[in-house]
Each structure stands twice: as C-alpha cells, then as structure tokens.
Amino acid sequence: AVSVAVASNFLTPLKAIAKGFEAKTGIAVKISSGSTGSLYAQIAHGAPYDVFLAADAREPKRLEKDGRGVAGTRFTYALGKLALWGRMNEDPRTALLQGARGRLGNNFRLAVANPKTAPYGAAAMAVIKSLGLSPKHLVRGENIAQTFQFVWSGNAEMGFVALSQVAGVKLPGRIWTVSPKMYPPIRQQGILLHEDKDARAFLAYLKTDAAPVIAKYGYGREEP
C-alpha cells in the first residue's frame, strides 16, 4: 500500500486518482490530508508517509535538501489556477476594478488566502497589486478552502479562489478565470519520501495516467 500525504486542496482529485490507480495496479492508497505546513512538520518528525503532495514548491524543496525526500523525485504534479469568484451578477473583474476606485461600500469584502501560508494567496496578492487595489477590504482565509467558505457563506462578496474549487460546480454569481500571466505560477509539487516500489509506481501513474483527471478538476500541467 502507498501512504500519501496531500495538501487539502488536492484531496478531492487525489481520491479519484487513487481509485484509478487501485483499479489498475491493485495497490491500495492510504490518504492523509492536511495543510502543507503541518504535513511538512509531521514528515520532519517521522510521519510514516511514502509520498508528499504539497500545495507549493517550498516544502518539497526543503525536504529534498534535508535528505528527507528522495533526491530527484520532486516534480510539479499540478499547476494551480487562480479564479475570482464574485457573488454579484456583474463581471467580477469589472466590479473589482470599481472597488479599486472606491465605488464599493465600506462593507465590501474581498477574500484571499493568506499569502504567507498559501501559494494561491501569494498569487492573488500579485493580481491585486497589479490592479492597484487597497488592502483594506481584504479578509484572509488561512488556506484556499477557507477563502472559498468566506465567499460561499456570503460573508465576502468576492474572493480569489482556486479554479479547481469552482470549476464545474453550480454556484451563485460569476467567475473570472485569472490570466496565468498576472501571477507567478502556482507549482504544486510532490516528492517521494523514501524508496518504495509501490510509491514509485504511484508517482509514475500521477505523472501520466492521471493527467485527464487533474485537468478535469481545474488544474493545469506544467509543460515539461
């Protein structure tokens, strides 16, 4: 069996992928999810995972450097895509620009993920900066899931979320898929934590056979 630690934003696609992998190879996949930061801390303190799928490149890099990951196995399994979700019927992009010019009320809230902890947050901040928005309307979710919840529950009128969260789901309002040129790439990297035949097989599957599933859930692939 393969034990996979996965950043929670990729949990849903991973479940689908694991099913396919199990069907194909007969190898069971055990999934543990969490925030990238906690998973890293656990791995650093001996957690029994075989594979780590982070939301970022930072943690896998560090693991590789520390020798806790198998050198040369680190790769980008998915590229995160940023989306702006607004609950109003206007084009969220237009509305956001109006907000930038102070035409939205004081109660206007724009949800973003914490740029320090979530790569989607850093990406969102880059977009905001390029649009010249003031940070006073921002509310921060600790991760991308929480950011989604702020908008979903109506507490924020708009939010920068992951495309994977909103693609193919029926939600109120409208969505603008942010051009990837406006933010640094969100590289979600994975790494093998120790030598294991099954784990390698899983990584290989993730690189190849899983591509359509990953795309279906709203992630991109890095051109090799």
Partner: protein, 230 residues
C-alpha cells in the same frame, strides 16, 4: 504585516488579551444567572439545556466556526438581526469574535459554575434572606463568595481557553491585522510557514504573560476565604 522582519509583532497579543477579557466579562454575565437557574430549578427539562450548553465542546472548533460563519453571515439569522440593529456586519469584526468566542467557551464557564452553585450552602442563603437582604446583596455578599472556587475555575477556563482558541476565531474573524488577527492565529501562521523561530518567540511571550496572569489569579483566588470586615 507592519512589524520589521525579525522583531515580534505584539499587536495580536494585545488583541487576544482584549478579546479574552471582553469575552470572559460577557460570559460571566450570561453564565452566572444561567448556572444559578440550572443549579436550582426543579424543571425536568433542564438537563436538555445543560446538555445543549455542553455541546459546543464536541465539535471541532473550525467546524463550529464554519457554522457560526454561516449563521453570523449577512444571510444568516444572527447576521441579519445584527445588521438590522447596528447597520454593520458581524463577521470579520471584533464584536463578531466576541460572540463566537462566547459560544465556544460558554460550556467551560457554565459548567464549573453549576457545580459550585449546587454545592452552595443553602442555609447561609436562607440566613441572608431572613436578615432582610435584597437578592443582589445576598448574591454579591453570600452567593458569590460561596462559589469563589467555581468562579475561579470558570474565569481561568473562560479566559485561557479564549486566548488559545483559534479555529473559531480564524473562521469568523478573517485574520485581519489589528481587528481580528489574534495571537493564536499569528503563531499558527508562523508554524504553517515553517517559521518555527518566530512561532517559538511569540508562544514564549504568550505563555510567559499567561503564566504571570494565571499565577496571580491563583494566588489571589486561592487564598483562604478572605475576611470581610464589618
């Protein structure tokens, strides 16, 4: 993030203590009468209330926070009432944090108080009544000193727990520096970003202040029954 790199940003600390203090005040005001009633009533349905009060404990804070976010949001029941009354939203504000913390910490304040009220010597309350004391005098001079131990536990639990809580606060507060970015969130953030040194530093300050505060509470509160002179 206004703090210079390397230096500790202590604003969240101050915010946390303010939140814990206000929450404790509100909670005591709610919990004292509630616990009194629960301890003395003979109404058979009271266990249902007792149980309901204890329930927030069993839900993971983040999940509780999620439901609070829904209820307190602009489309939630509480959020709508609040907006009608004050004109502003409840989530992502200090007031919202206080309400959320109250829900979360209520059981930790009510339960020790119920236990204390149940053990209160009924006869000294009766004696106070026969001496003509109005209820508030009986309450302040006989009941409160009589449940000192319970109040101490309730206060320590209510305060410390609100300090340490972060799931609910994160959810409802939105981590807004200066407004809702409390110290628990700040520390958590440091851990998540693998900035263990900053996390350790901030934790240390929090623990040190809390230690001093709690110790003072125990020293004062733990004294043998204080003499009330004539």
């Amino acid at each position: 993030m206004t703090a210079p790199p390397g230096a500790l940003d202590l604003a969240p600390l101050w915010l946390s203590f303010r939140l814990a203090g206000v929450t404790l005040g509100v909670l005591l005001a709610i919990a004292l009468p509630l616990a009194w009633w629960l301890a003395w009533t003979r109404w058979r349905g009271k266990v249902v209330i007792e149980t309901l009060v204890a329930l927030p404990m069993v839900l993971p804070p983040t999940v509780l926070g999620f439901y609070l976010l829904v209820v307190m949001g602009p489309e939630g029941a509480l959020g709508r009432v609040w907006r009608a009354l004050t004109g502003s939203t409840l989530t992502f504000t200090f007031a919202g944090l206080v309400i959320a913390s109250c829900v979360y910490s209520l059981p930790f304040v009510v339960q020790p108080l119920i236990a204390a009220f149940k053990r209160l010597d009924r006869r000294s309350v009766e004696a106070s009544c026969t001496l003509g004391a109005p209820w508030w005098r009986t309450f302040a001079l006989i009941v409160v000193p009589g449940i000192r131990g319970g109040i101490l536990v309730a206060a320590v639990q209510g305060f410390a727990h609100t300090l340490g809580e972060f799931g609910v606060v994160l959810m409802v507060g939105g981590n807004i520096p200066g407004a809702t970015r409390v110290v628990s969130i700040a520390i958590f953030e440091h851990v998540e970003t693998l900035n263990y040194e900053a996390a350790g530093g901030l934790s240390l300050v929090l623990v040190a202040i809390s230690f001093a505060l709690l110790m003072a509470t125990f020293v004062i509160g733990g004294e043998r029954a204080r003499r009330v002179p004539a």
